[in-house]
């Protein structure tokens, strides 16, 4: 089998990063097209496994998946190059936009537009939360944990780092208790 060039890795993930709107969950169809169908770097099953690992490891899902594919093909350097490809379009587009926006930030039209945009953003984030709730709050313990997290971060401004660590412990303990009950 011919070795995949680093340039190919970079360019493929540059394309995926530049064409994905809306982050990790939106990238799967593009990954399937580029990595499985067109370039045959991985089988459908292998890709889904890599994508699953990308979701359960810290960091941005899209970056995790890119690193994983790159690593499997060309080792550590491949992982780094694929990730750099994935994030390059963001850096170019956002830097350009930010330069323009920050230059005209005092223009009244831009301020009015952004006042409206902020309201729309609140609505899109609300929608994301509703969607996530359906998937994540599956029983009484998870609902209680959710309420506890909201209360402790809002009222006592608990650090999200501590929340993440406690939630991992919570998940393991509650699932163990559940399994033990089922075992008896």
């Amino acid at each position: 089998m011919k070795e995949i060039s680093l340039w190919d890795l970079y360019f493929t993930f540059f394309k995926i990063g530049g064409l994905t709107f809306g982050g990790g969950y939106a990238m799967l169809p593009l990954l399937q097209e580029e990595v499985v169908n067109r370039r045959q770097w991985a089988s459908e099953e292998e890709l889904l496994d890599m994508y699953a690992i990308g979701q359960v490891t810290p960091g941005i899902i899209a970056v995790n998946t890119a690193t994983m594919v790159g690593y499997r093909k060309r080792g550590i350097l491949g992982g780094v190059i694929a990730t750099l490809g994935e994030i390059s379009p963001s850096i170019i587009i956002i830097t350009t936009l930010a330069t323009i926006l920050l230059r005209y930030k005092d223009a009244p039209y831009l301020q009015q537009a952004f006042s409206g945009i902020r309201i729309a953003v609140c609505a899109t984030v609300t929608m994301s939360i509703i969607r996530l709730m359906k998937k994540s709050l599956v029983d009484l313990p998870t609902i209680l944990l959710y309420l506890l997290v909201v209360a402790s971060t809002v009222l006592f401004s608990l650090s999200p780092v501590i929340v993440v660590l406690v939630a991992i412990l919570f998940g393991i303990v509650v699932q163990n208790i559940k399994h033990r009950k089922e075992g008896i």
Partner: protein, 181 residues
């Protein structure tokens, strides 16, 4: 040194935010509390808008924008590299030693708790966003609150619509009603 501080702060964001772009939001709010010279609650809302309406992972877009605001083009690049560095390290370790990582029961159990907590953290971020947008100096801004409820209803009805649609509509309404900043 500003670049080192940016790298370190976004390394932490990348290390602890699990499960999609919006999961970085609570960490950005904490950052805004500690470093108000870098970020404010208002700029975070703008960052979400820009990141949702441009291509690329939302978490990456927000890191680039935040870094750019703090220290220009190079700042954007450094913040983004800081955010992806933990991913690269962790994924390489997992790919090398733990092939079946996602099927490990311990990982599955941890995620049962993590998923619920992450929704809680994003809810906390939303409450911060809402209080900045709907409350002005301690009193409710009724116009903004009414518009927010209309938007939520629209988003719930037209579930398939791209976020860009809502952001453009928001901009149009802001211009037509001449909403104050």
């Amino acid at each position: 040194m500003i670049y080192l501080a940016l790298f370190y702060e976004f390394f932490k964001v990348g290390l602890f935010s699990i499960g999609g772009g919006l999961a970085t939001l609570p960490f950005l709010y904490k950052l805004a509390e500690r470093r108000p010279d870098w970020l404010t609650v208002q700029t975070i809302a703008d960052m979400v808008a820009i990141s949702e309406s441009t291509p690329g992972p939302i978490g990456i877009n927000m890191a680039t924008y935040a870094g750019y605001q703090v220290a220009g083009v190079f700042g954007g690049i450094i913040a983004t590299l800081g955010e992806v560095a933990p991913s690269i390290i962790i994924i390489v370790i997992i790919a090398k030693f733990l092939a079946e990582f996602d099927k490990n029961p311990l990982v599955k159990h941890a995620f049962y708790g993590l998923r619920a907590a992450v929704v809680g953290l994003i809810t906390f971020a939303l409450l911060k966003l809402l209080s900045a947008t709907l409350l002005a100096g301690g009193s409710i801004n009724y116009l903004n609150t009414g518009l927010y409820l209309v938007f939520v209803a629209l988003v719930l009805v037209f579930k398939k619509a791209h976020p860009l649609v809502w952001i453009l509509l928001g901009a149009a309404i802001g211009l037509i009603l001449r909403l104050p900043s």
